[in-house]
């Protein structure tokens, strides 16, 4: 058994490709080209679709005109039908409804008395006894489900009687439903009730509309009179249809109570178009009539329904909108100024009342600013254009209305009238809405159009004054948060520092609450994201102090942002910045609750700190950097991934020292020692293995042979433990990884000088013996390891090794043991052990095909490292037989293997 002699240099020159020198790098484009590319990028204006104003405003306008045309023929399918439906859906979800609802006696009759419907006598007495309401005060409790079911029943009954030509009953039942809306004692249920009831109103309206249209288009005997165009003229409607139509209005106008009368007229409101062409007057009358409903909740929702019905008209004037808002103002002014008593039938408190009314205000404002062409007109008519001083102290706007107005006002309008609007907000400090939130809303709106803001200084000055007057820190922060972007954008450094100092001062006197934390977080993030240079941010007076007051997730989020931004730069070399960022990173590390946090958050924090460590650069002061790494290890000891980074960094440091420093041996020693201490702290053995190998390499290159030996020992130790501890969850991939590492170890061994005391082949032998003890190693993996061991010993046997360590004091085995008999003997014993092992292991592979392949692999390996003499050829033929029995004679791999072995062997080979 003899190893083949190899001439690596000759082989390299034979196998390597011929090289041609080139003048330029093929992957690098010419420098002039790249700069022009960059310019192009600069010219492309970034369009943010979420902020696109001019575009977005135009779109709904188009929609509207299309929808309007459609609406004339069918009042149900207008633009807002969808919007209305979705708004209603939200409305029902917005207010949690208790299971049991208190209901006034009168409406409980409608709800409970399902049998009364069949008896007209009862109905009449019901209608006559209007004054009953006066005598029977008091409330009954009905379950919500019962109430809703009853409404659905009523709807069905209305539809049924309509279709059986009993339209009078339909109308009477609809009036009953409308009457339910008079009862606001249901409180939170009122919005839901409204949605259900108006659904019935809409249904009735549609049925009446259809019926009258039918009459207008077709005569009694079914002959067609005319086909009504979408924008028909009332003159074209035949008398018969007009008569029917006005009868409906007559019937409805005879309803005694105001609220049901309004609702019913609104339900069939589009039908006015059959009678005359100026329906706007009627609409205005209804707006005025709603004033007669004193209950604020009932009147608000009634206006809401009016707006909905008005949108069914093809050409609608906007006068009613303005009047609605003005009336709403009067009502709210009254609520705001009244003492906490009762409001109409409403029993809840003022806050609940306003919150129940709020959706209607929201919808109204949306209607007001729906048409972008009319925005300017609307602003004038709402009286916004007036000099704010005129109504100073008169409470011109109710804050809740103002809030929704601000929300709907186009950004450019807000931006160009910032000061005026600020005054409006200032003047409306009533209890219907938190004034702070109005300041905030204004701020957010201004930020939306930040470049168009007029009189920025005046605005910010005013806002800061307003905020400073606020006693509560929470309000102070809430207001300023919204204006932060403007302060930053317009570089108002003076304001910025005064804000920060004010915040800090206030923070010192208070315990920070969650809400405040959220605002602080937002402010801090704005600062962090605005400035590119974190040094500047961290140097801002009080910024770090404010950061220190923060805690919990808010703090972590800010920390993460700071680190993200800081590591965006190429390197961090300023010592104070490093120190500050180190503190930031440490606080981030400390805030992560390791056992319980979600893996993702944890990893993100770790990644950020790793990036930070990576970017820190102490230049030539390598010692300082090592000290920094030591500090990091101490500070971030809970992050295992980070320790790996530290080991890598320290190795990098050592390598740099090797290259740069003359007197480096001690420094490299400290780096290696640092690693020797750090690596065992990492729980994963496979990770340790990688790092041990890396460090061993570095120390070998540094000439520290004893360190490298120790590290290799540790590596072998890892290899032994790897499966025991990393254990059960190992997948094939990990096993593959470990095998690769073992192979890497083998190739590294070539560089390491052998040690007589331990035996030259001490480490390869340990690997070999390890194989048996590792039960997870499949035959396939073992063969791979064995092949590399074989390769290692074959290479060791050469007179000249293919590569050497680049250190003058490190001698490789080829120099140490050249021609040494003991050395060759040891190699021979190792290789024969490996050989035996191979032959023994292959049959253990359970899969036949795999077994065959393994046999061939081993055979190839053996044939390429050994001279094929008798002993070897018998081993080879044994393996080939094994392969034949598994794969069959025709297998291509088998054939090529046989060919290869034949070529190698001077004597005949094979079974024959």
């Amino acid at each position: 058994m003899e190893f083949k002699v190899r001439d690596y240099k000759a082989e390299e020159s034979v196998h390597s490709l011929t090289r041609v020198p080139v003048s330029s790098h093929p992957l690098c484009s010419s420098p002039s080209l790249s700069s022009s590319d960059k310019q192009d990028h600069g010219n492309i204006e970034f369009f943010d679709p979420l902020r696109g104003l001019s575009m977005e405003i135009l779109e709904p306008a188009d929609d509207m005109t299309v929808a309007e045309k459609h609406s004339a023929s069918q009042p149900t399918s207008h633009l807002s039908a969808k919007e209305w439906a979705s708004f209603n859906k939200l409305l029902m979800q917005r207010f949690p409804v208790p299971k049991m609802i208190s209901v006034s006696t009168l409406s409980s009759k409608t709800i409970r008395g399902s049998k009364a419907v069949g008896k007209p006598v009862n109905m009449q007495s019901d209608e006559l006894n209007d004054s009953q309401k006066l005598t029977e005060e008091g409330f009954k409790i009905v379950s919500q489900q019962e109430y809703i079911t009853r409404l659905h029943e009523l709807k069905d009954e209305i539809m049924r009687s309509w279709h059986s030509d009993d339209r009078v009953t339909s109308l009477k039942l609809s009036i009953k439903v409308a009457r339910l809306l008079m009862d606001t004692s249901v409180a939170q249920f009122y919005p839901s009730l409204f949605v259900l009831a108006t659904d019935i109103m809409d249904m009735l309206g549609d049925m009446v509309w259809e019926r009258i249209r039918q009459k207008a288009e077709f005569a009694d005997d079914g002959t067609m009179i005319c086909s009504l165009p979408d924008d028909f003229d009332s003159n074209n409607i035949c008398l018969e249809a007009k008569e029917t139509c006005s009868n409906w209005f007559r019937k409805i106008s005879s309803i005694h109570e105001l609220l049901p009368r309004i609702y019913l007229e609104l339900a069939i409101f589009p039908c006015w178009r059959f009678l005359h062409d100026h329906v706007g007057d009627s609409l205005m009358r209804l707006v005025m009539m709603i004033r007669g409903i004193a209950d604020p909740l009932a009147s608000a929702y009634c206006r809401f329904f009016l707006l909905h019905c008005a949108q069914k008209l093809p050409h609608c004037d906007t006068g009613h909108l303005i009047t609605c808002i003005n009336d709403l103002k009067v009502v709210l002014t009254r609520i705001v100024s009244m003492k906490e008593t009762t409001f109409g039938n409403f029993l809840g408190d003022r806050r609940l009342l306003v919150s129940l009314m709020e959706p209607t205000i929201e919808y109204t404002m949306r209607c007001v600013f729906k048409d972008p062409n009319q925005v300017a007109d609307m602003i004038v008519r709402l009286g916004l254009g007036k000099n704010p001083l005129e109504f100073y102290g008169k409470v011109p706007w109710i804050s809740v209305i103002l809030h929704h107005l601000l929300r709907e006002l186009p950004t450019e309008v807000v931006c160009s009238n910032a000061v005026e609007i600020l005054h409006l907000v200032e003047c409306s400090g009533d209890c219907s809405f938190d004034q702070c939130l109005n300041y905030k809303m204004l701020g957010l709106k201004l930020c939306e159009g930040i470049s168009q803001v007029k009189a920025v200084d005046a605005v910010i000055d005013e806002v800061i004054q307003v905020a400073t007057r606020r006693k509560s820190l929470d309000e102070y922060l809430k207001i300023l948060d919204a204006y932060m972007d403007i302060v930053l954008q317009y570089k108002m450094d003076r304001y910025l520092s005064s804000i920060l100092s004010e915040i800090f001062e206030r923070l010192c006197n208070e315990v920070v609450t969650e809400a405040q934390l959220a605002s602080l977080q937002s402010i801090a993030l704005k600062l962090v994201t605005h400035f590119d240079d974190m040094k500047y941010v961290l140097d801002l007076k009080y910024f770090v102090d404010i950061l220190d007051v923060m805690h919990g997730s808010s703090r972590s989020i800010v920390n993460m942002h700071i680190l993200t931004n800081a590591t965006r730069n190429d390197r961090i070399d300023d010592p104070t910045t490093v120190k500050l960022l180190f503190d930031v990173a440490q606080s981030l590390h400390d805030s992560v609750d390791f056992p319980s946090t979600r893996q993702d958050d944890n990893q993100q924090a770790e990644r950020l700190i790793a990036r930070f460590i990576d970017k820190v650069d102490h230049g030539k002061e390598l010692d300082r950097h090592l000290t920094f790494l030591i500090e990091c290890r101490g500070a971030f000891n809970n992050m295992n991934g980070l320790k790996e980074i530290l080991v890598h960094s320290s190795n990098l440091l050592a390598t740099r020292a090797l290259r740069e420093k003359k007197d480096h041996i001690n420094f490299i020693k400290s780096c290696i020692t640092f690693n020797e201490v750090t690596i065992p702290c990492i729980p994963s053995y496979s990770r340790q293995l990688i790092l041990y190998l890396e460090t061993a390499e570095v120390s070998l290159f540094g000439g520290l042979i004893s360190h490298s030996d120790g590290l290799l020992d540790s590596a072998i130790g890892c290899l032994q433990n790897v499966y025991l501890v990393d254990g059960l969850r190992k997948s094939n991939e990990d096993a593959d990884g470990i095998v690769s590492l073992t192979q890497k170890l083998c190739s590294f061994m070539l560089l390491v000088p052998g040690n007589w005391e331990q035996g030259v082949t001490y480490i390869p032998k340990s690997i070999l013996s390890l194989l048996d003890s590792q039960s997870w190693m499949t035959p396939k993996l073992r063969i791979r390891v064995l092949c590399s061991l074989l390769s290692l010993s074959a290479t060791f046997a050469q007179n000249d090794l293919p590569y050497h360590a680049i250190h003058e004091e490190v001698f490789s085995n080829d120099r140490l043991f050249f021609g040494h008999a003991m050395y060759s003997q040891e190699l021979a014993s190792l290789s024969s052990a490996v050989l035996n092992n191979m032959v023994d292991i292959i049959p253990q592979e359970p899969s036949q095909a795999a077994r065959g392949k393994l046999a061939l692999e081993a055979c190839n390996c053996i044939a390429s490292f050994f001279k094929v003499d008798h002993e070897i050829s018998s081993v080879c033929s044994k393996l080939v037989e094994m392969a034949i029995s598994c794969l069959g004679v025709d297998n291509k791999y088998l054939q090529s293997t046989i060919n290869f072995v034949h070529k190698q062997s001077p004597i005949s080979f094979g079974g024959e």
């Binding site: 209007d130 004054s131 006066l134 005598t135 005060e137 008079m182 018969e240 008569e243 209005f249 007559r250 106008s253 005879s254 005694h256 109570e257 105001l258 609220l259 009368r261 009358r285 005025m288 009539m289 004033r291 007669g292 409903i293 004193a294 209950d295 009336d327 009067v330 009502v331 009254r334 109409g344 039938n345």
Partner: protein, 315 residues
């Protein structure tokens, strides 16, 4: 076997100088012979005095003799036969002959006075057979020619309701707290138009419960030497529900119910007039205590203002 009258207009409304047109429709299982088809137009004012408002003796009269307005008979077809199945026989009746100076009052259904026009058809058959007949009411509106000139602008009357304008006693808190409700309302109104106006609660110390508009009719009948008058509510319309905001103008808008209203009439033996009353009800505990009573009774928590209303036919 039936006969019915279908008038040419679905609202059955005619003016006296217009021909009353339509079809007589017979539905017969087999053809019958008849002795002529007769149409009769009958219009009259029916008067009735109920006890209470008139004296005891007058009440004995009970129903007074109706005042005839028109009575006309025409033969649509002479004796003949009507075939089986559905047959339509058109007709046209002239209600008012040219030059005739006869007053056609407008149709009105009141409590004591009712002015009614009926069209009757008789298919007279032999002795052994019952005549087939049917009756419909048709509605008369005044002649265009006889209408007074349309009021150029509807006459608006201003009103004030305060604690001092009330002729009945008020609750002390109403008296002391005071209230002022002002407004204006049309007192001359076309029948086809709604009664309009506006109203503002300027002040009220006691919260308002409701504001209603009562439309009333005043029917007067000459009984012998005396005039029996009765006022009754036709329709109540609420215009304010609850304690409405002060100084906000509320519209008054009342659509006049058909048949229950007609142009104001002053005839010799009877007259029909109208009145509008604004009723302001204040919130009080007394509602629950007091039994329900006549709505016209003057209650202590109610303030009101009545205004005469002249109704005019439109063209």
């Amino acid at each position: 076997m039936s006969v019915e009258i279908k008038l040419s207009r679905s609202n059955r409304t005619y003016r006296p100088d217009e021909p009353l047109q339509g079809n007589i429709i017979t539905k017969l299982p087999a053809s019958i012979s008849h002795r002529g088809i007769q149409l009769t137009v009958n219009g009259s004012v029916n008067l009735q005095v109920r006890g209470g408002s008139a004296g005891l003796i007058e009440s004995l009269y009970g129903v007074l003799k109706p005042i005839p307005i028109v009575k006309k008979s025409i033969e649509v077809q002479p004796s003949g036969k009507i075939g089986a199945g559905t047959t339509q026989i058109p007709f046209s009746v002239i209600l008012k002959n040219q030059g005739e100076e006869h007053k056609f009052y407008e149709t009105f259904h009141g409590a004591n006075i009712s002015i009614q026009y009926l069209l009757n058809v008789d298919v007279v058959r032999g002795y052994l057979h019952k005549a087939l007949s049917a009756t419909v009411e048709f509605i008369i509106e005044s002649d265009l020619a006889s209408l007074p000139e349309k009021p150029v602008s509807p006459e608006m009357v201003f009103f004030y309701i305060t604690q001092d304008t009330q002729r009945h006693s008020l609750l002390t808190e109403l008296k002391s707290g005071g209230f002022k409700i002002s407004g204006r309302i049309c007192t001359q109104c076309l029948l086809s138009d709604p009664l309009v106006g506006e109203l503002t609660v300027e002040a009220s110390a006691v919260p308002i419960y409701s504001i209603d508009i009562h439309l009333l009719r005043i029917e007067s009948i000459m009984v012998g030497e005396k005039i029996a008058t009765e006022t009754s509510i036709i329709q109540t319309t609420q215009i304010a529900d609850g304690d409405v905001c002060r100084t906000m103008s509320l519209p008054i808008y009342v659509v006049l119910p058909r048949l229950l209203t007609c142009p104001t009439v002053f005839a010799g033996p009877f007259s029909i007039e109208f009145k509008v009353t604004i009723i302001v009800t204040f919130q009080t505990e007394l509602y629950n205590v007091q039994p329900k009573s006549d709505p016209r009774a003057f209650r202590k928590w109610v303030a009101m203002e009545s205004l005469p209303l002249e109704l005019v036919q439109s063209n």
